[in-house]
Symmetry: C2
Subunit: 236 residues, 2 copies
């Protein structure tokens, strides 16, 4: 049993002098790191799904300049996917076999999270990649050897987030009524996305029903999500 779940009560919160309480949930997620190949495979499939979302957004782009901007984001995400599957292969894993266990549930999630139109599809990509890339990086901190550095290098940058935020900001500026609709859509996405984050973590069976004890683990993910929504001028 993991320390984190050793008592029914949440551990005492750190004093406010610790900035944003960040280290607490960082440690929390690192303690929930799955076996490296599982994390790589799960992350690889997530990037693949994100790529599909982005390519769908590209096809329905309202302008060629937006399409080109998205094409760079899609390229980055596809490169990440391939870097992860390459690494799996180098370690003797078959990427297809390794990813298969995660495919159905992520596909179902993406179907629900897809959004009704172009702006919502883009918002989905922004919210989902933001939370889940963070999640994978934080989980990887619990892996041995140079895995933490490797995963951070691959998924820890904010190129994707920054590029998507720029496109979304332009759209919101051009069509102000979008703001409230996208804020609402963003809020609807968070719950489902955190369930995916939870499924990536290695959470012992007997704690599954006990959400209260897991909540603190996801505090940072939600805080960073809130910051990303702030960046768009939206309330999370």
């Amino acid at each position: 049993m993991l320390n984190l779940f050793g008592s029914r009560r949440r551990p005492p919160q750190p004093s406010r002098s610790r900035p944003r309480g960040e280290n607490v949930s960082r440690v929390g997620l690192a303690q929930l790191a799955p076996e490296p190949h599982r994390l790589y495979a799960h992350a690889a499939y997530l990037q693949l799904s994100l790529f599909e979302t982005l390519s769908r957004a590209m096809v329905s782009s309202p302008s060629l300049s937006t399409k080109l901007a998205l094409s760079w984001v899609a390229n980055t995400v596809l490169d990440r996917h391939h870097a992860l599957t390459d690494q799996l292969e180098r370690e003797g894993q078959n990427p297809v076999e390794a990813m298969t266990p995660f495919a159905a549930s992520i596909d179902a999630f993406h179907e629900r999270a897809e959004g009704a139109d172009w702006a919502e599809v883009l918002m989905s990509a922004y919210v989902v990649s933001g939370i889940l890339d963070d999640c994978v990086v934080q989980l990887a901190e619990g892996l041995p050897g140079d895995y933490p550095e490797k995963v951070t290098e691959l998924l820890g940058g904010n190129d994707v987030s920054t590029a998507l935020a720029a496109i979304l900001s332009n759209e919101i500026e051009a069509t102000p009524p979008l703001a409230s609709r996208l804020a609402l859509w963003g809020r609807r996405l968070v719950g489902d996305t955190l369930l995916v984050a939870r499924s990536i973590a290695d959470i012992p069976q007997d704690t599954v029903a006990d959400d209260e004890r897991l909540e603190p683990v996801f505090t940072d993910l939600v805080a960073d999500h809130t910051r990303r929504m702030d960046n768009l001028g939206l309330t999370a």
Copy 2:
């Protein structure tokens, strides 16, 4: 007026000792090379459209292993698109402005050429990329400086064709009745695709109505297309 159109009659055909008459139409297309930036921009938009076709095929892939195989092809095509737009930028062109004149007609073409299901979408990518990449490479031979080498290096390889042929062959092997349907679909695509090839070439206005004189120019493109269909065991 270009030499090629100097007389109403086709120039005398080379003797059969010249292999496949290849040099004749090679020279022909090279004589029709548009201004470099136009060719780059047109080629860049074609790669972007091809990428969209491939990403659509990825989303509807019947298996994860096919999806992964396609993801590599999509990545190659997107890299080609970006290499072309990068080159435009290095030469002081705005890629969006440069591509815009070609967008509407290529979009309309892709809509017609999309195919009814996954196998047809893939077949479209195979036929269209085969003919049009060839066309761009052959047109580029008429450009000055190191343009011919640059374009050949970028689009002259057969990675995309080979990868798509492998996926299509597997599908046809698994579902033999596909063969005749895909052969039929391939034949339907050729005419429209040659019209796009024609639109990439710089064909003087007064020859537009005179298809007969242009036909030989596209002989090689059709010969190579026939060879690619042969590779799949299909009749072109």
